[in-house]
Symmetry: C2
Subunit: 293 residues, 2 copies
């Protein structure tokens, strides 16, 4: 089968063998925001057309199932497990491959009744369930970081934090990025100083202004300011989320390393989950539908 993790900015496809092993892979900067309405089938054919003769079953997860994607697949309400997600998959028919499946997103309400949503992370969690074990607290860092509570292999509830996107827009569009050209987060002492600062008083909006003043007063060198801002935001995220330890972190390698560093500094035991859980999750969903050998 073919597994496709199709998000806002990235397209990642995997050809999987009969045992779920990754035989081949492709990735491209062809996230759904780069594709015009009606153009998804041709993008998919261009990217994975060569695989289709052998592996016609296509399973997709991520923002491809959103209102801006190929077809909106409604959110499933928590708690949800593998079988419920598999049953709720939407389908699209396309000329090249017959029928393709799209995984639904998941929704829940926080204790105050405010809705939350995810698309794609549920599939990663299903794909990592062997490493996670039946009960876990999972952090999936990124543009919109998620904290997900798993009990008896079910996704019980979760919380999103806009950390990555806030970092990006503040660095690129506010005064905070004007003191340095270095957006890379690679200065560990500055990152740690930001994480530590997040424990102090008077709130994030005050701490953000301190990124500027500590730059102005040269207390944090220019090339370290993005690292300081990143540590500050991630520290605020972790302290506000206050996840019950231990936390399993699923994400890109660099970001996972940064988060594990920040968790440790906040006194929260955390461990990285290696590998690529999205194709494994899509494999599990396909198997639950009887679509694997």
């Amino acid at each position: 089968m073919i597994a496709v993790d199709w998000g806002t900015s990235a397209f990642r496809a995997y050809r999987l063998g009969a045992d779920g092993r990754i035989l081949d892979r492709r990735s491209a900067a062809r996230g759904i925001l780069t594709v015009e309405a009606g153009g998804f089938a041709s993008v998919l054919a261009e990217e994975i057309g060569a695989w289709l003769d052998e592996e016609p079953g296509v399973f997709m997860s991520g923002m491809i199932g959103s209102r801006q994607g190929w077809k909106e697949v409604p959110y499933l309400a928590c708690p949800v497990d593998l079988e419920a997600i598999a049953r709720a998959c939407g389908t699209v028919d396309w000329d090249r491959g017959g029928r393709a499946f799209i995984v639904p997103g998941v929704t829940c309400r926080d204790p105050h009744g405010v809705p939350d949503v995810m698309r794609g992370e549920e599939t990663q969690i299903l794909g990592a369930i062997e490493e996670l074990g039946p009960d876990a607290v999972v952090c999936l860092p990124g543009t919109h970081s998620k904290y997900v509570r798993v009990r008896e292999r079910r996704i019980m509830d979760f919380t999103t934090h806009m950390t990555g996107e806030v970092f990006g827009v503040l660095w690129r569009h506010s005064i905070l990025g004007r003191l340095s050209d270095t957006e890379a987060v690679d200065d560990e002492p500055a990152f740690d100083a930001g994480v530590d600062r997040s424990a102090e008083g008077q709130g994030l909006l005050h701490h953000l202004f301190g990124v500027r003043t500590r730059g102005l007063f040269r207390e944090i060198p220019g090339p370290g300011l993005a690292s300081y801002l990143s540590g500050l935001l991630i520290g605020h995220e972790i302290r506000a989320a206050a996840p019950p330890a231990p936390v399993a972190v699923i994400g890109a390698a660099d970001l996972t390393r940064l988060y594990c560093r920040a968790f440790e500094r906040c006194g929260v035991p955390a461990r990285p989950i290696a590998g690529e859980p999205a194709p494994r999750g899509l494999w599990a969903i396909a198997r639950s539908l009887g679509a694997t050998p």
Copy 2:
């Protein structure tokens, strides 16, 4: 004399009579970021040239005294009073008006040693000191909101929150502005809902994502989303600043009204300070230097 409040994005000039009364005024979107280095004297001449024959004394406050302004006037460390600020004014010589004065900025350190800065707000506080009384807690809302503690007519310390700028960049550059074209903050129930939300758990970065989900789920109508975001940010600012009541609010009329509404909702007594304190502060500084009749 001529009083000039010259900030990042706006230029405001006032011709003052012998008693400090405003005789005439001009304002223009010619903040320091719109002026090229070396161009400040000609902008000033263009804007207030007609007044110069009668009133040659020019006093300026705001970002005009910053590194990006006409001439950098070093920050004075708190605590500071009128006389200390007047003595520390910088001067520039220019062909049209002889010598012009620039008010210094003020700096302090928060309880954790992180520096903070202001330029312009100190002058507004000096101009409002009669209404404030000798001891006050002052909020100056805006791009970079300030909370300032005044004791015996001295500025003791203060805290900056990046609230206004964070609102602007999130609305214009993040997903939060994509659900609505209305940037106006004029939906009072949505604003109040944002202020109330700021009291709930899991932090600002989570609450920000809720602006999107409550829009997606149509719990807050599109035209109210900017008001909800504004209330959320202002509520977080007020609760984190936790000013000892009562608070005096100095700012533009619309913003002052919004803030007084948010303070009330957070249970903090607040009162607006009317009038235009910047020219009054510049008048007081000039008088302290013996530069008024």
